[in-house]
């Protein structure tokens, strides 16, 4: 059981989602989602403990070894981020019932919890996986769930906001996919640890820079980094307040940034210094960057969650401010990692 924690972290919310759909009673679904969220929280706490005891955990899916099969890889940074995401998800979900029963019509409440769990599964998957294509798949799982969650808003403008987010998000994801395609055609591998070894050996080439350009733009569209942030204020302003609390704290900020950027920008970093790049240098840059970024990320994410919870009537102006604060944070983080 304890050997399989890495995969359980993702599987628990992923399976809980269809089960809570079958329950088909809003209150029951909420209770069940809470149980699942607590379970994910416990798993992430155990994972953090394990990582601190034994170092990085790797988990080969289906017993296929690393460069061929999909590998889940949880290092200290990933374990912390998993803990943050699952804690926020759990706390927001506890508060969700009162708010949701006011904001969302009764017959659609169950589905909201289903989407919430799917989104959580996607976000945790992005952090846990060590396979770059798997990141794309989980990114899309969480994004598709969040498009639908945003469309739950009472105002009809929520629909328009969700549509805009969907178009921009899909373009971002497709850019990311193109970037992965270029990297795969260059290196023949999708495993991130393997990529980090092979890319410095390639030397600089136009294809490599194109690949990184696509990946960076794709991810920045998704995490709404200035100046690619225009979808964000509407989406957060018109979504149900609980959804905003959850997504603002985890989806764009805590998770994508601190996951995608350390890993991918870590790879990028190693490209920049490819002449001097050694494995040691790479790991130092990645962990160093990860750790100095982490406390900031953590506190802002927590702060935003509490902020959104108490300010239930968040207006658009607030969300713009929020958007900009979010962006300054994001820009600072990326500057720190590059």
């Amino acid at each position: 059981m304890l050997n399989h924690l890495a995969i359980l972290q993702v599987i628990v919310p992923l399976l809980a989602a269809p089960i809570s759909l079958l329950l088909n009673k809003a209150r029951l679904a909420w209770l069940f989602a809470c149980v699942a969220a607590v379970a994910t929280f416990i798993i992430s706490a155990l994972l953090l403990y394990q990582v601190q005891q034994t170092g990085t955990i790797t988990y080969d899916l289906g017993g296929w070894e690393a460069p061929w099969g999909i590998q889940y890889r949880i290092d200290l940074l990933a374990a912390y981020v998993l803990l943050v995401v699952s804690t926020i998800a759990m706390l927001v979900l506890f508060a969700a019932h009162t708010s949701i029963s006011v904001e969302v019509p009764g017959d659609r409440q169950t589905l909201l919890y289903v989407l919430y769990l799917l989104c959580l599964a996607g976000l945790l998957g992005i952090v846990a996986t060590g396979d770059i294509f798997n990141v794309f798949v989980f990114l899309e799982i969480s994004s598709l769930a969040s498009y639908a969650l945003i469309a739950y808003g009472r105002d009809r403008r929520a629909l328009w906001a969700a549509y805009q987010y969907l178009v921009v998000g899909t373009i971002g994801a497709t850019f990311f996919l193109i970037g992965i395609g270029f990297l795969y055609s260059l290196t023949g591998t999708l495993n991130m640890a393997d990529l980090a070894v092979r890319i410095p050996a390639l030397g600089a080439s136009k294809t490599l820079y194109t690949a990184f350009a696509f990946i960076v733009v794709g991810i920045c569209l998704k995490l709404a980094l200035f100046p690619l942030h225009l979808w964000l204020p509407n989406a957060y302003a018109y979504a149900p307040s609980i959804v905003t609390a959850f997504l603002a704290a985890t989806a764009t900020k805590g998770c994508r940034l601190s996951v995608d950027s350390p890993r991918l920008f870590g790879v990028w970093h190693s490209v920049h210094y490819f002449r001097a790049a050694t494995a040691e240098h790479f790991s130092r840059s990645r962990f160093g960057g990860g750790f100095c970024r982490f406390p900031g990320c953590h506190s802002t994410a927590q702060y935003q969650a509490s902020f959104c919870l108490f300010q239930c009537r968040s207006d658009r102006l607030h969300d713009y401010r929020h958007g900009y604060r979010h962006n300054t944070g994001a820009a600072g983080d990326i500057a720190a990692s590059v």
Partner: protein, 116 residues
Amino acid sequence: MVMDLYNYWMVIVLMMIGFYIVIVQGNLIKKLIGLNIFQTSVFIFYISVGKVDGGTAPIFIPEATLYSNPLTHVLILTAIVVGIATMALALSLVVRIKAAYGTVEEQELQERDLQC
């Protein structure tokens, strides 16, 4: 040179057509059609990357010695599923928008939002 890589040129052409439609079209359904073309171009790109010169389709045939890379096909199968899910969600959003606003034109949508 141009003819050797014609599939990549087609990818670029399709990608630009799709991207152009997404940006320029005001009709929400047409925007989605553009988005779909844009995604499809990436599928062709992946399949082109996986092609091995002289290799056959990656299905076990006793007499074949060289196969194309099956991994990109598998990846793109996943991406196609993601694309279908996105399209289904997007179209259902458009249905809801049509019900709420009575239009699927971006221009009219924004005007109606300003009125109220």
